[in-house]
C-alpha cells in the first residue's frame, strides 16, 4: 500500500498536477472541514456572545453611529457619481460590477507552517490558480491550488507571497512580501517620502488589478546608503476571523 501511494504521488509530482489520490482526499475532506467549521464557528460564536455580553450595548451604539455616517457618505457618493461625466460613471460601474465568486473559508494549513486557507469552491465554479482573493477589508491572497470542490489560498502574509504594490499617496512602487504576521513592502525607491499610516494597495499584476487595499504602513526602514527603503505594513484584513471571501478571476 505504501509503495502504491508513493508511486501515485511521485507520478503526480512528475506531471506537475495533483494526483487522483490527492484530489479524492481533498474533495472528501472539504465536506468534513465544512461541517467542522460550521460546528466550530457556531460554538465559538456562542461562547464569544456570552463573554462579550456587557460590551454589546456599547458596540451597538457605536455601530448605529457608524451606520448613520456610512449612509450619509453613501448619499454623497451617489450624488457625486450622478454628477460625474458619463465615461467616469461607466468606469465606476465596471469597477463595482467586477465579476467574482463568493466562497467560504473552511480550513487552514493543518500543520500551521504556511499561511494558507481552504475555500469551499473550486474549479467547478471557475476558480483557477493565480486568481486573486479579497474580502470587504482588502486583499486576502491568491489561489495556488484548485480542485473541483475546493481551492487553497496563499495568504499575503505567507513568506512565499509576493505581490506588486503601490503606496497610494505618492504612487511609489514596491513588492509586498509576507512575514507570517504582517507584510513587508520592499524595493521602494529611496526618494519615496513614505509616512506612517500611508495606504498600500495592489499594483497591476498577475492576480490583482490595481487598487485593492493591502494595509497601512506602521514602520519605515530607511537605511543610509542602501539602494532601496522598506516598510512594515499592517494588513487591512483580519486574518484571524476570515470567513467569506470573493475570488476574482483574471
Amino acid at each position: 500500500m505504501a509503495a502504491a501511494i508513493a508511486l501515485i504521488q511521485l507520478d503526480a509530482l512528475k506531471s506537475g498536477k495533483p494526483s487522483l489520490l490527492t484530489v479524492a482526499l481533498d474533495s472528501v475532506s472539504v465536506y468534513a472541514q465544512d461541517a467542522a467549521a460550521f460546528a466550530g464557528g457556531g460554538s465559538r460564536g456562542f461562547v464569544e456572545g456570552i463573554a462579550n455580553a456587557p460590551h454589546l450595548a456599547q458596540q451597538n451604539g457605536e455601530l448605529r453611529e457608524k451606520n448613520a455616517a456610512l449612509r450619509s457618505q453613501n448619499e454623497r457618493l451617489r450624488e457625486a457619481l450622478a454628477q460625474a461625466p458619463e465615461a467616469q460613471a461607466i468606469e465606476h460601474l465596471r469597477a463595482a460590477l467586477e465579476s467574482g465568486t463568493l466562497a467560504t473559508v473552511v480550513g487552514f494549513d493543518p500543520e500551521g507552517l504556511s499561511r494558507t486557507v481552504t475555500l469551499d469552491r473550486g474549479t467547478s465554479v471557475g476558480i483557477k490558480p493565480d486568481d486573486g482573493v479579497i474580502d470587504d477589508e482588502g486583499v486576502v491572497g491568491r489561489v495556488i491550488d484548485a480542485s473541483p470542490a475546493s481551492s487553497t489560498v496563499l495568504l499575503v502574509t505567507d513568506g512565499a507571497s509576493k505581490v506588486p504594490a503601490v503606496v497610494q499617496r505618492g504612487r511609489w512602487w514596491g513588492i509586498a512580501t509576507g512575514t507570517n504576521t504582517s507584510i513587508r513592502l520592499e524595493y521602494v525607491s529611496q526618494d519615496a517620502k513614505l509616512k506612517l499610516g500611508d495606504v498600500v494597495v495592489t499594483g497591476e499584476g498577475r492576480s490583482f488589478r490595481a487598487g485593492y487595499e493591502l494595509g497601512r504602513i506602521t514602520r519605515i526602514d530607511h537605511p543610509e546608503g542602501a539602494l532601496y527603503q522598506s516598510a512594515v505594513v499592517a494588513p487591512s484584513v483580519a486574518f484571524g476571523r476570515l470567513s467569506r471571501v470573493l475570488v476574482l478571476a483574471r
Binding site: 508513493a6 504521488q9 475532506s29 480550513g107 500543520e111 504556511s114 496563499l154
Partner: protein, 183 residues
C-alpha cells in the same frame, strides 16, 4: 551482533510482538485529528506553532504495529495532509511515512521498555518529520521561505507534542498498549 534494542549484556535480537489497535479506531482518530488541525489550527497555535495530532497518532500507531504498518499509515496520513495543505506536493506523504517507519523501529529499542515511550519519541519524531518535510520540499523544487521562523515553529511544535503525549499517556495509560509486546 549487537542490536540497538539490546540491554547491556544481551546479544540476541529483542523479542517484539506487535500490538495493533483496531483499524477503525485508528481511522476514526485520524479523521478527528485532521479535522481538528484543519479547522482549528489558528486557535490552537502557541507561539506560532500548532501541535501536530497527526504526528502523535502516526507515532503511536508505528510504535504499536511496527515499521511497515507505521510506514503505510504514515503515508496515508501524510497524503491527507498534503491534500488539505495544497501547497506541499507530496512532502508530508513521504515525511510522515518516514516518521511512521522510524517509530516502528523505535518500538524495538529501549524506548519501548516504558509506557511513556511516546513522550521522548514524539518530540524526536516531530523534528525528524519536519527535517524530512524540508528535504522533500527542496527535492520538489519548492523554496522554503523564512527557514529560521519555520525552525522556530518546528521546535515549539515538538515541545507541544511532547507535552500532549505526556498528558495523554498519563491520563489514558491503556493507550501505551499491553505489556505483552515489551521485552
Amino acid at each position: 551482533m549487537l542490536w540497538a534494542a539490546n540491554k547491556p549484556g544481551e546479544t540476541a535480537a529483542p523479542a517484539y510482538v506487535p500490538d495493533p489497535p483496531l483499524w477503525w479506531h485508528v481511522a476514526l482518530a485520524l479523521v478527528v485529528a485532521l479535522g481538528i488541525q484543519a479547522t482549528l489550527a489558528p486557535y490552537l497555535a502557541f507561539r506560532g506553532a500548532t501541535p501536530s495530532l497527526v504526528t502523535l497518532l502516526v507515532a503511536w500507531y508505528g510504535v504499536r504495529t511496527g515499521m511497515l504498518n507505521g510506514l503505510a499509515f504514515g503515508m496515508i496520513a501524510g497524503s491527507s495532509e498534503d491534500a488539505i495543505a495544497g501547497s506541499t506536493g507530496a512532502a508530508w506523504t513521504f515525511a510522515t511515512g518516514f516518521a511512521g517507519l522510524l517509530c516502528g523501529r523505535l518500538a524495538r529499542t529501549w524506548l519501548a521498555d516504558t509506557k511513556l515511550a511516546l513522550v521522548p519519541g514524539a518530540g524526536l519524531i516531530t523534528l525528524v518529520r519536519y527535517a524530512a518535510f524540508c528535504a522533500m520540499l527542496q527535492a520538489e523544487g519548492r523554496p522554503i521561505p523564512l527557514p529560521l521562523l519555520h525552525l522556530h515553529v518546528a521546535l515549539w511544535q515538538s515541545a507541544l507534542d511532547v507535552a500532549i503525549a505526556f498528558v495523554v499517556l498519563r491520563t489514558m495509560p491503556w493507550l501505551g498498549g499491553s505489556d505483552a509486546h515489551r521485552r
